[in-house]
Symmetry: C2
Subunit: 353 residues, 2 copies
């Protein structure tokens, strides 16, 4: 398996990205294609990982520039067709890589995926799915969309549900994933206009097992495996949730060592506090998956360090190993054969996204 | 000052509600009117607080029934015009009480407030404001709306901003409150259709100091004093945030006492862990305030225990002491005199709420 790694994307690129890619190469047995500035990458490798030059699992693929965090994605891609994310995406398109990971500009990665790989047939809008840790250890919940589509029609969210369930089943190994719709009450009548309509669509769709509304408090309970929402609410929630772990650790750091008992207790608890941090840390759960494009793309956090890059590559490998893309294609095909294409009477036109 | 307390609303009513009201009476020096089933309340008082019968600061006001959590608010109020929340609201209307607090059905409390007290002139939609603890001790952030209005027009959120800033300034004592719009990016162009339009309105409004977009990660940072959003996103966020404290404490309970060092360390840290819990606990921040109705109404959490009821009454008292209502009326009046009524060209009709 070959993973194209955007070596220039992320706050700590290329250093931490390369370090994480090398870790993945060693631990997961994948080949990594480091895409980016050839000089910068080879200099870094020579200085810090001289052994990598003899490693057949590590290859440099030259690219020219990268999309800046403040650039408009489409414009950036047009101006820099040889940018690292564009070249990495091309490797997947040309089947020279099985998956791509990037911790750079999320919008640029999405745009590059749409332009170079295209959508899966039958999917109107690809979604970004993120794993949130829950109260139950090793049982994350997949939340989607967390930012790709800020204004959604009900059928988009229906498609997110289908993709999320499939991913949960095949890549995460949950035989009967429980699907919830993020909402503000349990009853079908609760919520805003969109969520009431989505509740109806999901209830009417026989090929989607739907467990009902999930309230904000249910997301981390471990009672749901997949939670769907529009990309605006999902993104607010993801960024809030990521900050919460940091806030909690900060409060612990401030309050626990107070007084001599506190200092001694904190010292004794050091290994256990490390476990606490792990369970609250979103980086442990790897990158967000772009679902609905014709290729495996994992988007890492901008602040990704080596271990996050390793985790992102693990997510990509799991998706490839478990043939998530092929299964999505099959599912969409079989649904098309079974049920007529749903017609959304109330909203004939695509809203701006 | 007289506070009407809905003694029948909440998971632990009337016991914990009465206990909290008595605590407030003693600590804050307010008179409490316990509204509900006269027999149930006086029996409870005789058994657990026999001294209350001689206390001139405690009065029972008879009501008949209460609105059930699963009842439709308006229908419930129509069927039970003498229910505890309706009677409590009437006390404020008839100026026999200065404020009302309820830990019962939020929708019913809102509906009763709208029916009995009405909206403040110039406010289209009252909002529920909730205080979230932040990274900075004793510096909560006011988030509104957290559930009253699930589908919003830009001008509603503009009004939330005005009300939130005023409340922050006068009831919370922040001289120059910093206002943020909950959104998924910093740039004005970021967000869904609604948030882009609200950003524009807030930027154009000279009487509202606007500090720009607040992302999910900024809510708990302490960088903002007031964050506005529609009631759907706000409610999802509030319930998620409330659950996060519980999840964090659960993780600590599971991980800290592992091994003998863990057990000893946890024992030593017990008082400090209590501080941690306090800082993560939303109940400490009292009830949510219903802003925009012509009376002071505080809505407690359904799971309120005595200490939450005390905090909710403290919030109500602060609002009365600081004449928040009068100041809101003045502000609205002065704005009307200064600027022409804004016309919302794109959305001539009220959406369903």
């Amino acid at each position: 398996m070959r993973i194209a790694v955007d070596a220039m994307g992320g706050d700590y690129a290329p250093r931490e990205i390369i370090a994480g890619a090398l870790m993945a190469q060693a631990k997961l047995g994948v080949e990594v294609l480091l895409v980016g500035d050839r000089d910068a990458i080879s200099t870094y490798l020579k200085q810090h990982h001289p052994e990598a030059s003899h490693n057949k699992g590590v290859e440099i693929v030259a690219a020219d520039g990268s999309i800046d965090m403040h650039e408009e994605p489409l414009e950036g891609l047009r101006r820099k067709p040889k940018s690292s994310i564009a070249v990495a995406m091309n490797l997947v398109r040309q089947k020279e890589a099985d998956a791509v990971i990037s911790a750079g500009h999320t919008g640029a990665a999405m745009a590059a995926a749409l332009l170079r790989l295209g959508r899966l047939p039958g999917i109107d809008r690809p979604a970004i799915g993120a794993l949130f840790p829950t109260l139950i250890p090793h049982k994350p919940v997949l939340v989607l969309d967390v930012g790709a589509n800020v204004d959604c029609r009900p059928k988009f969210i229906e498609q997110f549900a289908m993709m999320g369930l499939l991913y949960s089943r095949y890549a995460l190994g949950i035989s009967q994933p429980k699907l919830g719709l993020l909402n503000i009450g349990e009853e079908p009548s609760k919520g805003n206009d969109l969520s009431v309509r989505v509740h109806q669509s999901l209830s009417d769709n026989n090929s989607i097992p739907f467990a009902g509304n999930a309230e904000g408090r249910d997301v981390l309970s471990g009672n749901f495996d997949v939670v769907v929402c529009d990309g605006f609410v999902g993104n607010v929630l993801l960024k809030f949730a990521e900050s919460v772990g940091l806030v909690a650790m900060q409060i612990l750091k401030e309050e626990l060592p107070r007084g001599w008992r506190g200092k001694l207790g904190t010292l004794l608890l050091r290994p256990n506090l490390r476990k606490v941090k792990e369970r609250m840390d979103y980086d442990e759960y790897g990158g967000a998956l772009l679902l609905g494009v014709a290729g495996v793309c994992v988007i890492g956090h901008g602040s990704s360090k080596a271990s996050s890059v390793l985790n992102a590559i693990r997510v990509a490998k799991d998706a490839v190993d478990n043939q998530v893309l092929e299964r999505l294609r099959e599912q969409i095909k079989s649904q098309k054969e079974q049920v007529p294409v749903s017609v959304d009477m109330d909203a004939p036109d695509d809203p701006p996204t």
